[in-house]
């Protein structure tokens, strides 16, 4: 007999992403790199991006170790933002942050929503929100060329 919210959190899609992360590894021709750190658990992630003409994210990858939630979230993120503009990616990030906190996530388009909905299970686990957002914050800091990201 399994707790319903646990089933929500550790859906097969999530476990699959975490076991077989997409776009995992170094991106040789990256022109933006960011490093993220979750001080709560010591997890680290590195996000590589190649941003081309028209501020388009031509390619993206990530590296690092972490819990299933953070790995799956990073993997899904790379899937979703590849090929988009920076502005679109940042808008999606805004929606995602709302989604995992259980806030109004209507900024996310319907197609994206279908992919991201599996992450909504995090809502029931407030202590795990930082795991889900780490990769996104790291992408943002990479794009801004700024300091190491922390998930908040």
């Amino acid at each position: 007999m399994m707790d319903e919210s646990l089933r929500e959190l550790y859906q097969e899609v999530i476990l699959d992403h975490s076991r077989h992360p997409r776009h995992f590894g170094v991106l040789a021709d990256a022109n933006h790199v960011g490093e993220g750190h979750n001080p709560l658990c010591g997890d680290r992630v590195k996000v590589y991006l190649h941003v081309g003409a028209g501020d388009k994210i031509d390619d993206i990858s990530f590296e690092g170790k972490g819990c299933a939630i953070s790995q799956a979230s990073a993997s899904m993120m790379t899937d979703l933002v590849k090929g988009r503009s920076i502005a679109e990616a940042e808008k999606l990030m805004g929606g995602f942050l709302h989604l995992v906190k259980g806030e109004d996530a209507s900024a996310i388009g319907a197609d994206d929503r279908e992919h991201l909905d599996v992450m909504a299970g995090v809502q029931a686990f407030p202590m795990r929100v930082k795991c889900a957002t780490l990769a996104w914050h790291t992408m943002k800091s990479a794009l801004e060329g700024g300091n190491p990201a922390k998930s908040e």
């Binding site: 399994m2 707790d3 550790y10 010591g42 170790k65 819990c67 299933a68 202590m127």
Partner: protein, 416 residues
């Protein structure tokens, strides 16, 4: 296998009786009975502690030290009686060797800043082990950042044991301090203090021992150890938050400058000059944790009401049961396996991240800690980012160990 220990335990210490003293232990989380195994982070508080604080706050409270009136005298009496309770608990020689602090962390900072700060020069060395808690690392890093001190790290063996010889070998002409934990909050390793302290003293080097975990599980006698500074914290000792204590040898405390400045720690203040009170007042600036001191004394009285060796035997029984069960699982690796270790059990799980595991255990009512446990250099030493840690207290039971193990199997099913 457990039948015989159970008999012994019944004769001397009964955890089920003790549980009744802790109101929180009868609560449920997510409809499951709470199995609280996060005691190394902080212990729960017995009725006796909460009642003592409540009675004091509703009957005898006032600020201490400077008042002539009845309540102030009463409160001062309770505060100083708490100091005496701590003195006895650690078997310090003099009451003025006990300084109340806000916790273990502040006590270590006090020594780093007020004892070593004025005595350290660039290139001087401080000897630490890699299993120290950040609270016994960062204050010394401050001296590195600000005065150019050098931190010398003693490694632990693969089983987590710390070799007294290695500490002795690290002490050189530049060494100014040795700072070590009594018990690792990750590995459970108990440091061979007698030998280390005796060695250090032959070179005239003072030793600070971080007893935040050690004092909870081991009997401490600072005179017998001949330790120079010993640190405890209230909230892990079944006492309140907001209080800890520093033991320091009288001669050392007397030679130290103050830490915080303010009321109660001065002899005289003028516009151009300030002179300081003697220890321990010199180090207790401002209104101290008065109500918490009463709580800490009650916690020590509570713990001391049991046969401490029987309590330790019980905790070791819990550890032995959990260890045996984990050793049976080929997807679990225990970190810290040295014989005689304390009742703290850290482990890695193959294919399961500690955070995911802790989340699933939590839904089974089992509270464990996942992460680096404020011991990043140790994590690095063992090449892990985090571990899961179950840490036992006197009120835990063998049945709770079984719940933990069952929950582990369930997590394996979900994530494995």
């Amino acid at each position: 296998m457990t039948a015989q220990p159970k008999t012994i335990q019944a004769a001397t210490f009964d955890p089920v009786l003790a549980r009744a003293d802790f109101p929180i232990l009868s609560r449920e989380v997510y409809g499951k009975p709470l199995v609280y195994l996060d005691n190394a982070a902080s212990a729960q508080k017995p009725r006796q502690v909460l009642d003592a604080m409540e009675r004091f706050a509703t009957g005898e409270y006032a600020n201490v030290h400077r008042g002539v009136h009845y309540l102030s005298a009463a409160a001062t009496g309770r505060y100083e009686a708490a100091r005496e309770t701590v003195r006895k608990f650690l078997n310090a020689k003099h009451e003025d060797e006990i300084v109340f602090t806000k916790g273990g962390t502040e006590a270590i900072n006090l020594v780093a800043s007020s004892y070593l700060g004025p005595r350290i020069e660039a290139g001087d060395e401080i000897v630490l082990s890699v299993m120290e808690h950040h609270s016994n690392i960062v204050p010394w890093h401050f001296l590195r950042e600000r005065h150019g001190a050098v931190l010398k790290w003693i490694d632990v063996a693969d089983d987590g044991s710390l070799d007294a010889e290695a500490v002795a070998a690290a002490i050189g002409p530049k060494t100014k301090m040795v700072a070590l934990t009594h018990m690792s909050n990750v590995l459970g390793t108990v440091t061979p203090l007698h030998e280390i302290i005796a060695n250090a003293h032959t070179s005239g080097i003072p030793v600070l021992v971080d007893g935040c975990q050690g004092a909870v599980h081991e009997l401490v006698d600072v005179q017998d150890l001949n330790v120079d500074f010993y640190v405890i914290t209230g909230h892990k000792l079944y006492g309140p938050t907001g209080i800890g204590a520093l033991y320091g040898k009288r001669v050392l405390l007397k030679g130290m400058r103050p830490y915080n400045g303010g009321g109660e720690m001065i002899r005289e203040v003028t516009r151009d000059l300030v002179t300081y009170a003697d220890p321990p007042m010199r180090f207790e600036a401002g209104t101290p944790p008065i109500i918490e001191s009463v709580g800490l004394a009650a916690a020590i009285d509570y713990l001391s009401s049991f046969d401490r060796e029987a309590v330790a035997a019980h905790e070791h029984r819990l550890l032995a049961r959990a260890t045996a069960a984990l050793e049976d699982l080929n997807w679990v690796k225990i970190v810290g396996t040295t014989p005689g270790k304390g009742a703290i059990l850290s482990f890695e799980t193959e294919g399961m991240h500690a955070h995911d595991l802790a989340t699933i255990l939590d839904r089974e009512g089992v509270a464990v800690r996942a992460g680096h446990h404020c011991a990043q250099p140790l994590m690095e030493r063992f090449g892990v980012a985090s571990t899961t840690r179950a840490s036992f207290a006197l009120y835990n039971t063998l049945d709770e160990v079984d719940v933990l193990i069952a929950a582990l199997h369930k997590a394996r099913k979900i994530l494995g």
